[in-house]
């Protein structure tokens, strides 16, 4: 019988063996999981533990039965554990998850590790052990560390990085800087729209507002939804940050980045930066600019106003202002309008355009309001405040000018005073010439005014002094050398480009001197020199040229070293090098890549310095020379022409370029089949491109060229000939076939076809003529092309002028003669002399001992005064010349 039982047993034998194996395998798997797996009873006693937990306990896992789980936690931490654990016992909870640290060692050895725990009841088993609970623990120490690192990076970025979750709330994981920008630490969990956009919503443009509204819809959608609105999303918003004092307006730049999972937008990342300071800086700039413009306008207007008129105007307008305020007080708006009208009129007369405009606008608005019955006059009051302010500014400015003009030695340099006066004079002339229709003169004057105004922006050369001296000090101390500096500078103003050049070059030469030239204190004493080296910087003005010299009493330039270097660098063959003169050798210093210093450092220069200096000086049409004496020192002398005046004249006198333009254009036209162009005369006349053409006539010529191009299509043939020998004449012959218009018509057609300046009326006014027939129109255009413009000029000077000054004068007049191909003669007798308009008398001092106005009856129509200032004198000469030309 037992045998039968055995048979049944045998049947399940294999099954049991299999299950046993399988179960064992499962047990081993659980035991070797990389997370803590343990089952505890309600008292925290371990019923089973896996290898992971055993490691924490540092005990054999088989020996952990009924160990207390609390042993791996600190007391307080365990209490938290128990609290969390107890939550499972509450109804409705099936599991609890939390993070808690574990003690990974014993005593001094202990390291805290971060674990993430998951506790849940172990099935519904109730055994003699009571209820059991599964505790899973994941070691997240490394994870937490990486998080910390990222968080630190996050915090150090001065950007607010926010993530918006699908529930439209801001994720609590944001960069710390966000709290700074938004002035709040409660950012997480807020609705992003309310928090970020609402305070500045009204400032947004309509389509930006709409785009923001649509942002809500992109969550869960494809990227295309975002693309549809992204261009309208505001890149900059206003945010009102709450501070202790109230509210602060911030400008925030926003960048929108959708975060996409599986093709769908899951979250939105916002990167926000505080742009307030940028925006404020921009606004400041704008304000300054507006302010500047306003000031300039005022200056110009004041200057153009006649002085005695201003004197009369000021008290009148003051009275009007008082009247205006009175009317406002009494709400007598009709009166007020009348006052505005008067202010307007007065301002207009004197030429205070801004005042006039403001008053006019205010008056119009006010009258409109009165007629329409609108009772609100606050805007009028505001406009009046603006008018009052403008008036006050004008008064102050005017006063300043008046004071300055009557006290020449007050505060500003002579040059500045002269400039302002000159501008005033020019303005008067300018206005007069406009009125009288003297376009040539107008053009010339406007050119001059421009130049003068530009000059106001010129910088006083002496301001370079502190910069240079500081550089000497810095470089000297860096290289431990003692340096004394001597600085001498001309009392002139130069434009910015020239200023930059001078300072760059000088700084470089200073570096050179201190670096290469001046020896160390010891060496100097050895050589018997003074311990301190001397550097002398001087900037002088001489005959249109600026002479800059930087010299030192150092060791000088070693000529032999240069020889060696150039041979070494294969710039020159050895035998050639030996024959080169000192001057030629010195010039090699300016070759690119040349440096005799063994070391290259940022104080002494990298060997590219001097060649750059040389090329820059060259750009300014200057020259650079070196003078050196071995052992004693070296001097670099740079001469640059003061380009200012030349520019003015060049603009007036360049016919060559116009002619070149014309030839070029005609050649181009020839290439097209339609036109037969005869410009042989032009070619032959190349020698005659020394000539004077004024700006406006140049304009006419150029317009003519443009016109010819314009009519190219309309008319068949254009013959251009350049005038005869003596008369500068251009005739444009236009054959237009098939057009059987009356002469009158073609004339009018011409008028419309060509630019205004070239219209027949205009042409006629300028010595041109238009002749038309059925088939052709000929425009004759006469130029003041040649010497006839300049009559012979006679000049003389009085005895008080020294010989050297006379020399200078002659030299200058010769230059003019050469340049403009003019006949100039010197009359020895300063009293007799020519009596025509082309005579110039140079007088040193009008109020000399020989009595004032002594030359009034000298017969010289033009008197040039110069008061020890060559520059002024030359200016005066040129002014006279202009005047002479303009008269014809």
């Amino acid at each position: 019988m037992s045998f039968d039982i055995n048979k049944d047993l045998q049947a399940s034998h294999n099954l049991i063996a299999l299950l046993e194996k399988a179960k064992n395998f499962s047990e081993i798997t659980i035991d070797s999981l990389p997370i803590v797996f343990t089952v505890i009873n309600q008292d925290g006693l371990i019923l089973r533990a896996n290898e992971c937990l055993a490691k924490i306990f540092k005990k054999n896992r088989e020996k952990l039965l009924r160990e207390n789980l609390s042993k791996i936690f600190e007391k307080e931490t365990w209490n938290i554990f128990v609290n969390k654990f107890n939550k499972i016992l509450e109804p409705g909870n099936t599991s609890v998850e939390f993070e808690l640290d574990v003690l990974g060692g014993e005593g001094a050895d202990s390291i805290k590790e971060s674990y993430y725990w998951y506790v849940t009841p172990f099935g519904k088993f109730y055994s003699s052990e009571g209820h059991a609970y599964v505790v899973l623990g994941q070691n997240i120490t490394k994870l937490r560390e990486s998080e910390k690192q990222i968080s630190e990076i996050f915090s150090s970025i001065s950007l607010a990085i926010l993530t918006i979750n699908p529930d439209k709330l801001i994720s609590p994981k944001y960069s710390i800087y966000a709290e700074h920008i938004f002035g709040s630490s409660e950012i997480g969990g807020q609705n992003y729209k309310n928090f970020i956009f609402s305070s500045g919503f009204n400032y947004l443009k309509k389509n930006s507002q709409e785009a923001i509204e649509k942002l809500d819809l992109i969550f869960g959608e494809s990227e295309l939804m975002f693309d549809a609105i992204k261009d309208n999303l505001p890149k900059q918003i206003i945010y009102k940050r709450k501070t202790l004092e109230g509210e602060e307006k911030l400008y925030l730049g926003i960048n929108y980045q959708p975060i996409i999972y599986n093709g769908v937008i899951k979250r939105l990342l916002l990167i926000i930066e505080d742009r307030t300071s940028l925006v404020k800086a921009e606004e400041e700039n704008k304000k300054i600019k507006i302010f500047d413009d306003r000031v300039v306008q005022r200056v110009v207007q004041i200057r153009s106003a006649k002085a005695d008129m201003m004197d009369i105007l000021i008290p009148e307008v003051d009275k009007l202002i008082i009247k205006a305020n009175d009317s406002i007080q009494k709400n007598n708006w009709k009166n007020f309008a009348g006052v505005l009208h008067s202010i307007k009129g007065n301002s207009r007369v004197v030429g205070l355009i801004t005042m006039a405009e403001l008053s006019h606008q205010a008056e119009e608005k006010l009258l409109f309001n009165i007629e329409a019955g609108i009772d609100d006059f606050t805007s009028s009051k505001e406009s009046f405040i603006a008018i009052e302010n403008e008036w006050n500014e004008i008064k102050i400015l005017y006063k300043t000018f008046r004071e300055k003009s009557s006290e020449p030695t007050e505060g500003i340099s002579k040059n500045e005073k002269n400039n302002l006066e000159e501008i005033q004079v020019l303005f008067e002339q300018y206005n007069a010439s406009i009125v009288s229709g003297q376009t040539v003169k107008t053009a010339v004057l406007s050119e001059k005014i421009n130049v003068k105004l530009q000059k106001i922006n010129d910088i006083e050369l002496s301001t370079i002094r502190p910069l240079l001296l500081e550089r000497v000090e810095q470089t000297a101390s860096k290289l431990s050398k003692n340096i004394i500096t001597e600085f001498e500078c001309a009392d002139i103003k130069v434009n910015k480009e020239l200023m930059d050049l001078i300072s760059d070059v000088t700084l470089h030469l200073i570096n050179n001197s201190i670096g290469h030239g001046i020896e160390s204190v010891e060496k100097r004493l050895q050589k018997g020199k003074t311990a301190e080296g001397k550097i002398k910087i001087s900037i002088k003005e001489y005959r249109d040229m600026l002479e800059l010299s930087v010299s030192d009493d150092g060791s000088g330039i070693d000529i032999n070293k240069i020889k060696n270097k150039i041979v070494k660098k294969n710039m020159v063959k050895l035998d050639e090098a030996l024959t080169l003169s000192e001057d030629k050798l010195l010039k090699y210093i300016f070759s690119p890549g040349f440096s005799t210093a063994e070391q290259v450092d940022d104080i002494k220069g990298r060997g590219i310095g001097l060649d750059t200096v040389a090329s820059r000086v060259n750009d300014f049409e200057g020259t650079i020379d070196i003078k050196t004496q071995e052992g004693q020192g070296a001097a670099f002398i740079i001469k640059i022409p003061c380009a200012n005046k030349k520019n003015v004249l060049r603009k007036l006198f360049s016919l060559k370029s116009i002619k070149a333009n014309l030839v070029e254009m005609l050649q181009l036209m020839e290439k097209e089949d339609n036109l037969e162009v005869n410009y042989s005369y032009l070619q032959a006349d190349i020698s005659r491109d020394m000539g004077v053409v004024f700006v406006d006539r140049a304009k006419i010529l150029l317009s003519l060229i443009n016109y010819i191009v314009a009519i190219e299509e309309k008319f068949k043939n254009v013959i251009v000939s350049w005038g005869g020998v003596d008369a500068g004449l251009i005739s444009v012959n236009i054959k237009h076939e098939g057009k059987k218009e009356t002469p009158g018509n073609s004339k009018s057609e011409l008028k419309y076809a060509i630019p205004m300046e070239v219209s027949d009326q205009y042409i006629c006014n300028h010595g041109g003529n238009v002749a038309t027939s059925d088939h052709q129109t000929t425009i004759f255009f006469g130029f003041c092309l040649d010497k006839h413009v300049f009559p012979k000029i006679t000049y003389s000077c009085d005895e008080e002028i020294s010989d050297s000054e006379k020399e200078d004068l002659h030299h200058f007049m010769l230059q003019i003669k050469d340049e403009f191909d003019i006949e100039i003669e010197f009359a020895k007798d300063s009293r007799g002399g020519a009596s025509d308009d082309t005579s110039i008398l140079f007088v040193k001092n009008k109020d000399s001992s020989s009595g004032d106005l002594k030359y009034e009856n000298s017969g010289f129509k033009n008197t040039c005064l110069f008061t020890d200032n060559m520059l002024e004198m030359k200016k005066n000469i040129l002014d006279v010349l202009q005047k002479i030309i303009c008269i014809s």
Partner: protein
């Protein structure tokens, strides 16, 4: 050295037996159940004695004996000694019918077992 086949599903028992027998100079081959025992016998035709348990998986001891008894390919059928906790007389009868010459109750006493082995082997030689 006489060869003895021991068949028992318990590794412990086999180890102990092996140790005991080898100490006394016997050569031991093993089988973990009836089937394996049968195969081992077929592979070792010079087996002189079989020591086997009754309760084993796949094929118990008695069934194995029956099989061996009926197996014509085995020329020499060695005597079988049952080593088991079973003491059922019916079982013993069945065993006797297919070659079981002795019945030893587990746990065995070493000396008694060895004595029995020697006796049976010498008997067989005759």
């Amino acid at each position: 050295m006489p060869k003895i086949l021991i068949v028992d599903d318990s590794e412990t028992v086999r180890d102990q037996l092996k140790e005991t027998l080898e100490k006394s100079g016997y050569q031991v081959i093993e089988g973990a159940d009836g089937i394996k025992g049968h195969i081992a016998l077929m592979q070792n035709t010079d087996t002189e004695l079989i020591l086997c348990d009754v309760n084993m998986p796949n094929m118990n001891g008695i069934s194995m004996c029956e099989k061996i008894f009926k197996d014509s390919s085995i020329a020499k059928k060695p005597p079988v000694v049952m080593l088991t906790t079973e003491a059922d007389p019916e079982l013993k009868k069945k065993g006797k019918l297919c070659g079981v010459v002795a019945w030893i109750t587990k746990p065995y006493i070493e000396e008694k077992l060895l004595l029995a082995v020697t006796k049976i082997l010498s008997m067989n030689k005759k």
